[in-house]
């Protein structure tokens, strides 16, 4: 599904990613963990096509396509979804119209007819129930005045509507209380399928109590320094990042 080979990326001339390698197969859930400033969100931004980041080396294949050659919108239409760490408030644009435009632009790209009003509403209802989001939120402007939990729930709802092949959840757990976290995680779990891959980016292990990953990777100083299975996350929770980062720093002679 996604194959990242030796990606290096800069922002404003500073190298943040220093050779990332990662393979995610269909249906797998991977978690990327790491201390603040390790490059987690940069990786998400590079994959989604944020223009401030310059990829200086390496390649990314997504569903058989050269991802880095595609525009941000074409990446989304090919089935890549980024759940934002900080979803943007856009006053004046109704959430429903926005999602309808997104769904239909994707369908157009894939050579499908646009959804008619009735089918669209039916799909909305179905997905709203799935991720436990209220109609009243969707009739408002995008994320305007939403609480932190409502914003994250809206991200998961958009994911449900767009049915991506790969969903990158960028710190979806940040800023959530325990109830909101449970609802959001339940939503994501319901969207797991053998065809859909998920990349969870998180600082804390607690999200992984709700969403069991197949693999866990530790990102530090722009590289993946340790990979393992879900037990690695528990070990990190217990010992902190230090037990890995000290070792890495030592090997780098720092």
């Amino acid at each position: 599904m996604l194959s990242i080979k030796n990606i290096h990326a800069n922002i404003a001339g500073k190298e943040i990613l220093k050779g990332i390698n990662l393979d995610i197969k269909a249906g797998e859930v991977h978690a990327i963990m790491g201390p603040n400033g390790s490059g987690k969100s940069t990786l998400a931004s590079v994959l989604a096509g944020r223009e401030e980041f310059e990829v200086t080396e390496g390649e990314v294949e997504f569903a058989g396509k050269d991802l880095l050659e595609l525009s941000t919108e074409d990446r989304a239409r090919e089935g890549l979804f980024l759940a934002f760490q900080y979803p943007v408030e856009i006053p004046g644009v109704s959430t429903t119209n926005f999602i309808k435009a997104a769904v239909n632009e994707k369908r157009k790209y894939l050579g499908q007819e646009p959804l008619d009003a009735v089918s669209f509403l039916k799909k909305m209802k179905e997905k709203m129930a799935l991720v436990e989001i209220d109609q009243s939120l969707l009739s408002r402007s995008i994320n305007e005045g939403f609480s932190g939990g409502e914003k994250k729930r809206n991200e998961v709802f958009q994911m449900a509507m767009l049915e991506p092949k790969l969903a990158i959840m960028d710190e979806t757990d940040s800023g959530l209380d325990i109830d909101a976290l449970r609802i959001v995680a339940n939503g994501i779990n319901k969207l797991r399928s053998p065809e859909r891959s998920i990349l969870l980016i998180t600082h804390y292990q607690r999200l992984l109590d709700y969403i069991q990953p197949d693999y866990v990777h530790v990102l530090y100083k722009g590289r993946i320094v340790r990979s393992g299975q879900k037990e690695l996350a528990l070990e990190l929770e217990e010992k902190g990042y230090d037990f890995i980062t000290d070792e890495v720093d030592l090997s780098l002679g720092l």
Partner: protein, 431 residues
């Protein structure tokens, strides 16, 4: 070189052939005023950003006799016209034969200005016509006055619900450049309600210039909504003065939408000349190509306890120019005034220009006034968010621009007009 000599011929002809009296007297004052002032130049502070004299390098046809085909009028009728009173100006002359008064005589009276000045409205016309001259001291206002001919008088009486008036300004420029100078006086009687909408259409490819003066008098307990839709072709220029005086405690709500045009100058004045007035003034300008729109607004608070709220928003793309000059005066008597002003701009191109000039002049000491002005760009984070959901860059930009315009559009209260404006804007933005 500016050419203005032919205005003298026109003035003399009007004075010799037309009836004497109030209007002729005003024309004479106007012509002397015009001679004294000449055309505004960019050296005048009020015309600093709009070099209007360039429009007078050619001679215009002043012919007010041009006619139109009924199909040409049908093509520009606004939605909801079946219920509205439709008033038509062709080349600045009010044309009763194309107009349609649907309200009864106890609700709305429409007549030529000359007739009003000679008959039962003589005192009213003498009292209120050309009050704008005290506020707009420039040669173009004077020129309109100097050549008043074919003007319109409207007396609004209906109280139960607003009387709808659509005014179509048609400029017939197929035969050559045309200058129109429509003049109108609208009197909203005590307790009367009015929804007034103006639109502008130039037919033909030559240049047109509409030098318009409209004066509105709003009596006690009257309610006036005023909408202005400027979406003419790129050769169509305008100097459009709307001078609204609230002489009794009343409510006025204006929305001015400018999309396409040549050089457009709007003077929108609200004079709050009675205690307890409430006024709302909104504007939207979405400019592309070489369109130049200068919104000059004035809210003059003359009496205590008045409230005014003003919001103007605009976008300049390509090599378009937008000017916002928003002046609020609070006179010494106008204690307890609440006056708010905001102006928000988006600059979309390196060649586009926005000149924003808020002015507050406060001579009373117990008032609440605020103003704010911003010039920015489209929110890059919002654009990325939309694109990350598969929406193309172009469409995402249009969505954000529509959202920017939305809080002005909601101020157009009649649904049919609002939807019409939304459609015009969607089309304008996606071209």
């Amino acid at each position: 070189m500016e050419s203005t000599a032919y205005f003298k011929d026109q003035f003399e002809q009007l004075q010799q052939t037309g009836p004497q009296g109030t209007i002729a007297g005003l024309r004479k004052e106007g012509f002397e005023d015009f001679n004294g002032r000449g055309l505004p130049s960019f050296r005048d502070e009020e015309w600093k950003y709009t070099n209007i004299s360039t429009l007078f390098q050619q001679e215009y046809n002043l012919d007010g006799e041009a006619g139109i085909e009924p199909s040409e009028l049908d093509a520009i009728r606004l939605p909801g016209h079946e219920q509205a009173n439709e008033l038509v100006f062709v080349n600045g002359i009010f044309k009763a034969e194309y107009s349609c008064i649907r309200s009864g005589a106890n609700e709305l009276i429409v007549m030529p200005l000359q007739q009003a000045a000679e008959g039962e409205y003589k005192t009213l016309v003498e009292t209120h016509l050309n009050q704008s001259a005290a506020y707009i001291k420039d040669g173009l206002q004077a020129l309109n006055t100097a050549l008043i001919y074919g003007g319109l008088f409207i007396h609004v009486l209906k109280k139960q619900e607003p009387v709808q008036v659509y005014v179509y300004h048609i400029l017939e420029a197929a035969a050559g450049p045309v200058l129109a100078q429509p003049r109108s006086l609208i009197y909203a009687d005590k307790g009367a309600q009015l929804q007034l909408t103006e639109s502008y259409t130039t037919i033909g490819n030559a240049d047109s210039l509409n030098n318009q003066v409209m004066e509105v008098v709003v009596e006690e307990n009257a309610y006036v909504e005023y909408y202005k839709l400027q979406n003419d072709n790129s050769n169509a220029s305008q100097v459009s003065t709307s001078h609204i005086r609230q002489i009794g405690r009343s409510y006025v709500h204006t929305v001015s939408i400018a999309l396409n045009g040549g050089m457009v100058r709007n003077n929108m004045n609200l004079v709050l000349d009675a205690e307890g007035n409430e006024s709302h003034m909104y504007g939207l300008y979405l400019l592309k190509g070489k369109t130049h729109v200068d919104n000059h607004t004035l809210i003059d608070n003359r009496k205590p306890n008045c409230f005014s709220n003003q919001l103007y928003k605009g976008i300049a793309d390509d090599s378009a120019t937008a000017v916002f000059n928003g002046r609020i005066m609070v006179q010494p008597d106008a204690q307890k005034t609440n006056a708010y002003q905001a102006n928000k701009n988006i600059l979309r191109s390196d060649l586009a220009t926005i000149n924003a000039k808020p002015q507050l002049e406060i001579f009373a000491d117990d008032v609440k006034c605020s103003h704010g002005c911003t010039v920015g760009q489209l929110d890059e984070e919002a654009l990325f968010y939309l694109r990350a959901r598969g929406i193309s860059k172009e469409k995402a930009e249009v969505m954000l621009l529509q959202a920017f315009a939305a809080d002005i559009l909601v101020q157009i209260k009649p649904k049919a007009l609002r939807e019409h404006a939304e459609k015009l804007i969607d089309k304008h933005l996606s071209l």
